[in-house]
Each structure stands twice: as structure tokens, then as C-alpha cells.
Symmetry: C2
Subunit: 483 residues, 2 copies
């Protein structure tokens, strides 16, 4: 039996948080004579008010949460947050439609970073701050989901993290996991603050430094500049953001070990090693190709290649160069990179390295199984045997992911979008990346899509962000059957 | 230890067969004053000669075949057959390059049907006959592989056929399987002869009727006409070919039961039922769409939709209409259909319905597993439980398939092919279909590709035709390790 009360309570808390953070953006309005701060004021109080109604509903403090309630909290929580995060756009003087407001809101909360705005620099400062902050909240939400909620629901594969990660020990949320979540949040907040200071020291305005610190750590990619990071021509700024994108794509447990000096544990994470070497190999190849093919100076070629590759793999989506100008081979490569993702347990979206690792190792072993059909052959991650059920789960995830990608591409084509754009928009939305190829390339925006496409892609972004199963399971008969 | 002798013997027999069939095409030269029959004469005798040398090598009649030798027979057998099947093109007066000859030969033997010729009607009749016959040999080869060799090697999933299919009982080829193979060949030959008679009776010339009978039953798709089946405007001919394409995509065991009147067994095949209803649903949707959107008369709209859909799903590749003119939505649909394939145990290529069925059922169950993590939940096909190992094998196959598709697309883009064409050519080659989208659409040909692309796609066609594992396993260390 599903108990509505804890669901309602938690959604209430989430909305009060969202509303308060909207009010927190108002001071930034002083940068442009408080343009449109009414939008945030109304939206903030409305959201807090509705949140309070949810929170107060049959209030009882210590209700424990079952699995099905967990799914509903995640799905409905994200749904309500998306709706109320869209209000500031709708309430503003910018005359934005409903589809646009919802798209921008979900693109923010899911840390995707695709935008419907063509002239970002003309937006009110307070609203821009809310736009960046919504990504940061989304990132925070994903950390708690991955550490505390997904393991309870049996998805996301925390079992595959570094060996010392705290796993779920029962079907109830364990207090130790709450501790872990707090510790990881602290790292998230501290890294954001640290990045802000560096960017400010390197000459960014305080406003730009805050916004970019928020959206870098969320692997979100919303920028306050029309040209994204290309606006900041200082190589130092680009290198710093590059490094922090890489960090933001790293498993937070690995970062935690790194900060405590336990480098053996850092190196013990196979996923981290693959992440690092895969990126290095790509930078080397693409850097050399564009250096020789397009006569870009060596340092700039490698910086440019590294920035674009790390931005796409971590699903951040900042850009400093238009990679579609680097030939059809690299365009195709970038398209494929939309399907990679960084580490599990980070704020990055998409499939993520760990799943590719399981796929790769298991595929190799399938050949061994063909020659020795009777042998029990299982794969190891971090030197530990991986349970067959987890392998099946990962393979199913991968295939569902590709199926949804195909479904989304067909739908977009059916709605009249051209072939390449449909594939690009689907891949980038499902992977929560941001820029893509075709008519939604790095220098384009999503504003020209018809409302139907915007609503559809918003749904796809949510699906991807919540690891597919969380949303899809609500459409199965199993979920609604009484036990 | 790998024993070269049985491998050499079997390749010898295959080459003698190929050479003899090349000679058999010579009489068709009388239709155009024996143009270029020398090419077939030289090639035929050379192939028989080399085959004889292979066959005679350390001849010993009753050597049994191990697993590794089985893999080598399949891979090397197909390789040598491809090489010697290419000779007639190269020896002809048409001045065809090596890459073109190899491409056309492999496109034939793999029953793909992609062609490098732009003016097919101008080709010598004897050579055209060889072109069609090579597809028919390929189809015959696939039947024996699926029934007799793949089960021995543990791939292809004969376990998933209708319940009564004879499975492998030991690691040696069982005499009963040889019996089955013979019986299925008989059906293959009989259906081809039957189709020839009908096409002839409906007004095709004897030459056209033979050629189209050969390439229809092989699900190959080589035509003797530049406009493929669109040349034959008679609806009766189109309906007959449509029906036989559907039959050729059906599992031969199912056809066998159908011919013996055991319709309960036919209906008992879940794969067949899905195949039938999936096609009917697609015909209904696409037929209505093109009827209303493009004002095509109702009968013609449904005939046209049915023909293109059945042709693509069975991986035949004939066409009667340019589907890329039906809007971007249907173009995308056709692109996705390149990944479907018909029944296992037929001559069709690609992924095939049974694997999609396993994927679909297993994905649905994964949601059930999430809610009941401790329950043992397994899928059923044809009312029988499917072993976990088979499920993993199918999932690995699907992911490897998609991985190869991605690898092929990147490679083609790297070789300078545009995005849409690269995706289309990769999908159609791996799935052994023939036509695709982009610049290799239904009214285009593959002649304009540079030689590097032709060699590469030839390799991809072989990979797809031999169910990936057969070729890929040769690149693993496991295979070459002495036990």
C-alpha cells in the first residue's frame, strides 16, 4: 500500500527549499536596477506557500519510506520542482511561453544546460542567477539521489562504486547514508565556493564567477554569456573551468578519498582510471587532428580539444569552440560522446563510464564463454566479482537507453525535425549534455523548436536524469499492483 | 589444437561448388551473344582448380570438427568464397576495380544487395546471372550455418526456435542435424522454383523470373532492372514478390511445419506471431500516412507501404517506391527498421525479431525485479523458460551490434562521408539490407564511395552476416590460446 503522507511531506520540504532559493536570487537584481525581481518575489512566495501546504499534510515526523513511495517521491518531487522552478521565467516581463518556461526549468534542474534563449546577456540578472542556481540545486539533488535514494530502489549501481562506498544494508534509509550524503554535499558546496574564488581572482566579475561556479559544479553548462566560455579568452580561466568540469564528473567518493590524501583508494577506482585515460587519449587524438588539419597553434589546439571533450563527456555543455567546424569525423565523434557520461556518483548525466566498463568487460567474456560454455565466468570491477543480476541490470539499462534514444529520434522526425538535428537533440537531452549537432549545435539554441518538441524533450531530459527506471516504472502494471 | 586438414577440405568443397556454379551461368550468355562469358569460364576453372588443391590437402574422410575449427571454417570459408566470387567481375570487360569487385561479391554472398553498378541493365546476362546466383548460394550457406554450424558454436540461438527444432546434442555435428539441413534446403530450392514459375506465368521473361526468384528467396535484393521491382508495374507481380519476401524471412522450421499442415506449430512460434503482427501494424500506419499526406490511392498506398516495409524488415532490399520522399518521419522509421531483421533460421540478416523479443521481455521483467529484488524471475519464449546464459548472450549480441554500428559510422565519417549517409550505409551493411538513407537511398548506388569505404563496408557486411561473434572471436586472445 502506498502511503501519501511521507511523499507529500518531502515534496513540501523540496518546494520550500526551491521557493527560498528563488527569493535568495533577488539581491542580484541590484546589478541591473532590480529588473524583473517581482517575478522571483511572486514565484518564491507562491512556491513556499504551496510547499507549506504539502508539508503540513497529515504531519507525522518519523514515517519510514517503502520502495514504491521512494519511486513516487523521486518522480513527483522532480515534477513539482520543475513546475515551480519554471514560474520565474513565466512571471517575468520577457513574455516567454509555457513550453519555453518548462523547458528552461527542466533543462536547469536536470543539469542539461540546453537553453531557449538566444540573447542570454540581455536577461535580468536576478533571473539569470535563478537559472544558474536551478542547475546547482539539480546537482545537489542528484548527489542525494545517487547516495541515498537510488541504492534503496536498487538502481544506479552504487554497488559498483569504489569498494569502501557505504551500501544500503536494509530496505530503509540508513542513518549512515544520511551522513555520507551530508559529507558529499559539503564537498559540493566547498568546491563551488573554491571555484568562485579562483574565477574571481582570475578577473571574472563576481556575478559571472558565482554563476559559472554554480553551473560548472553541477555539470550543467548554463552560462551568462551568449558565447559561453568562449567569451573568456583568458587561457587560465579556461584551464581552471576545464579542471573543475573534470572534477565535477568524478565520483564524489573518489574526491572525498583524494581530499583525505588516500590516493590508493582514488587509484583503486577502475571507473576513475578509465575516465582519466579515455579523456587523455581523446584529447591527444583530437588535439593533433585539429592542429594539423586546421592549422590551430599546438597549445590552443589541445586546450580547445580538451575543453570540448571534457565538457561533453562530463555532460556539462560549455563550449569554447564550434566543434562542428572540425570536419564530419569529429562531429560524429562528438555525437557518440553524447552517449558516454562521466562517473557514477557525480552530477554528470548519461550512461556513465561504469556501465560502459561492465558492458565492455562482459562482452569480452562472452567470447570466452563461447569457447568454454560450461565454465562459470564472471567479470570483476575493482577486483571484486560482480553479481550476475547487476550485469543484467546494466545491460538492460543500456538497451533501454538506446531504445529511448531511437523512440525520441523517431518522434522528433515525426514532428518535422530534420534527421541530424533529431538524433542530436535526442542524444543530448537524454544524456543531459546541452549542445549537440545539426541545428542544435554548440552555437545554436533550442528556442526555435515548436512547443510540442520542447515538452517532449523536457520529458526526455527528466527520464535521462532519473536513470530511466524511476520514471518508466510508474508506467508498468507491477508498480500499481497491490501485494 | 587446431587441425588444418578438415578446414582445408571443406573450403575446397565450397570452392569447387562456387566454380561449378560460375560455369553454370555461361549458358545465359546466349541471351546477349555470349558477352563476357570468358570471365566466367576462366574464373570457374580457376576456382575449381584451387578448390581441388584445398580439398586434396592431406585428404582423410571422417575427421571430426572441433569448435575452434568450426569458427575457422565459417570465417575462412566465407572469405575464400568472397574472393573467388569476385573474379567474374574483375575478369569481365567492364573494367571494374578490385574494391568494386570485392564489394559486389560480398554484397552478393552476404545477401545484402547493395550494388556498385549504376546501369545494371547494360551488364552481360551471364554475369548478371552469376550476381543473382551468388546471393542464392549465400542464402543456402546461411541456412546450413544456422541449422548445423552456429548451434555447435553456441551462437545464433537455435534454442530459441520453435520448440520442436532439433538442437545440438553434443559438440560434434549430429547426423540428425544434417538431415534437417537437407530438408530445409529442399524447401529453399522448391520455393525458388515455385516462385520462378509464378513470376514467369505473370509475364516476366524467363531470365528476369529466374534472377528474381533467386534473389527473393535469398532475401538478397539484387535485381536485373535499374529501377528494381518498380520496373514491374503489374500489381500481381509486386504482391507475389511481397508474399515470397515475407516467406523468405520466416523461420524455415516454421515453413516446414506449415507445409506439413501443422499450423498449431506455426502459431506456436512467438517470433513468427510478432513478425506478422509487427509488419501488419506498420503497413497499416505507413499506408494511412502516405495515403492521406501524399494523396496516393488507397490500394497503391498500402501496396507501396507493405512492399517497402517487408523488403526492409526481411533485409531483402527490393524497392517499388522511394520512401525518402515520404517525409522525414518515415525516413527515420525506415532507418530504424534497418535494425530489426526478420526471423532467426531464415536467410534474413540483421538483429532478427527473436532477439528483440528477448530484449523486450527481459526489459519489462527488470522492472518487476526492481520491486521484488529477491525473487527469481525469468522470461519465457514459446512458453518455455529461457536460460540466463542465453539472455546475457542475446543482450551482449545486441550491444556489440550497436557498438559496431557506431564504430562503422565514425569510420565512414572519418573517411569523409556525410553524417546521414554514414549512419545509413553502416546500418544497411551490418544488417545486410541493401538500400538505406542519405546518399545511399533506394534510388542511389554504392559505386561513388572511395575504395577504402568499399573495403570497409565489405568487412561490415561479412561481420553482420556471420552474427558478429564468428569473425570477432578470431581477434580475441582466448581463441588462439592452447588449452
Amino acid at each position: 500500500m502506498i502511503n501519501i503522507q511521507p511523499i507529500s511531506n518531502i515534496i513540501g520540504v523540496l518546494l520550500i527549499l526551491v521557493g527560498s532559493l528563488q527569493l535568495l536570487c533577488i539581491p542580484f537584481g541590484m546589478l541591473d536596477e532590480y529588473r524583473d525581481i517581482n517575478a522571483l518575489l511572486y514565484s518564491g512566495f507562491l512556491t513556499i506557500g504551496v510547499g507549506f501546504l504539502f508539508w503540513i499534510y497529515k504531519f507525522k515526523s518519523s514515517a519510514s519510506i517503502t520502495k514504491k513511495e521512494g519511486y513516487l517521491i523521486v518522480a513527483l518531487g522532480w515534477f513539482f520542482m520543475s513546475f515551480f522552478s519554471a514560474l520565474p521565467y513565466k512571471f517575468s516581463s520577457l513574455e516567454i511561453g509555457y513550453a519555453d518556461s518548462i523547458f528552461e526549468s527542466i533543462s536547469g534542474l536536470t543539469t542539461t544546460g540546453a537553453t531557449i534563449f538566444s540573447d542570454i546577456e540581455s536577461l535580468p540578472r536576478a533571473l539569470l542567477t535563478w537559472r544558474s542556481l536551478s542547475q546547482w540545486i539539480g546537482g545537489m539533488g542528484i548527489i542525494v539521489l545517487t547516495v541515498a535514494i537510488f541504492p534503496l530502489l536498487g538502481i544506479g549501481g552504487i554497488e559498483l562504486f569504489v569498494a569502501e562506498a557505504p551500501g544500503p544494508t536494509s530496505d530503509k534509509i540508513h542513518p549512515r547514508i544520511q551522513e555520507t550524503a551530508k559529507r558529499l554535499w559539503l564537498i559540493y558546496v566547498a568546491l563551488t565556493a573554491f571555484l568562485f574564488l579562483i574565477l574571481f581572482a582570475l578577473g571574472m566579475t563576481g556575478f559571472d564567477a558565482i554563476n559559472h561556479a554554480l553551473t560548472t559544479m553541477a555539470t550543467g553548462g548554463f552560462s551568462t554569456k551568449n558565447n559561453s566560455i568562449a567569451y573568456f579568452t583568458s587561457p587560465a580561466i579556461q584551464y581552471v573551468i576545464l579542471l573543475f568540469m573534470f572534477l565535477a564528473g568524478t565520483n564524489y567518493t573518489v574526491i572525498y578519498f583524494g581530499l583525505r590524501g588516500k590516493f590508493k583508494n582514488v587509484w583503486g577506482s577502475e571507473e576513475f582510471r578509465v575516465y582519466l585515460f579515455f579523456i587523455l587519449a581523446l584529447i591527444l587524438s583530437v588535439g593533433l587532428i585539429i592542429h594539423f588539419n586546421y592549422a590551430i597553434p599546438l597549445e590552443e589546439a589541445f586546450r580547445s580539444a580538451a575543453f570540448q571533450i571534457v565538457s561533453i563527456i562530463t555532460t556539462t555543455g560549455y563550449i569554447t569552440a564550434d566543434y562542428t567546424q572540425w570536419g564530419v569525423g569529429i562531429t560524429m565523434l562528438i555525437f557518440v560522446l553524447l552517449f558516454i557520461g562521466a562517473n557514477a556518483g557525480s552530477t554528470s548525466g548519461g550512461i556513465k563510464i561504469i556501465r560502459h566498463l561492465v558492458l565492455f568487460k562482459n562482452s569480452l567474456l562472452e567470447f570466452k564463454r563461447l569457447i568454454h560454455p560450461r565454465a562459470m565466468i564472471r567479470i570483476k570491477i575493482n577486483k571484486q566479482l560482480v553479481d550476475g543480476k547487476i550485469i543484467t541490470h546494466v545491460l538492460v539499462f543500456l538497451l533501454l537507453y538506446l531504445l529511448l534514444f531511437v523512440f525520441s529520434s523517431i518522434t522528433l522526425c515525426g514532428l518535422g525535425i530534420d534527421f541530424e538535428t533529431a538524433l542530436g537533440a535526442s542524444a543530448t537531452s537524454l544524456g543531459n549534455v546541452g549542445p549537440a549537432i545539426g541545428k542544435v549545435g554548440p552555437v545554436d539554441n533550442f528556442g526555435w523548436f515548436p512547443p510540442s518538441v520542447k515538452y517532449f524533450l523536457s520529458f526526455i531530459m527528466l527520464l535521462g536524469r532519473l536513470e530511466l527506471f524511476t520514471i518508466l516504472i510508474l508506467f508498468t502494471p507491477y508498480f500499481w499492483k497491490r501485494v
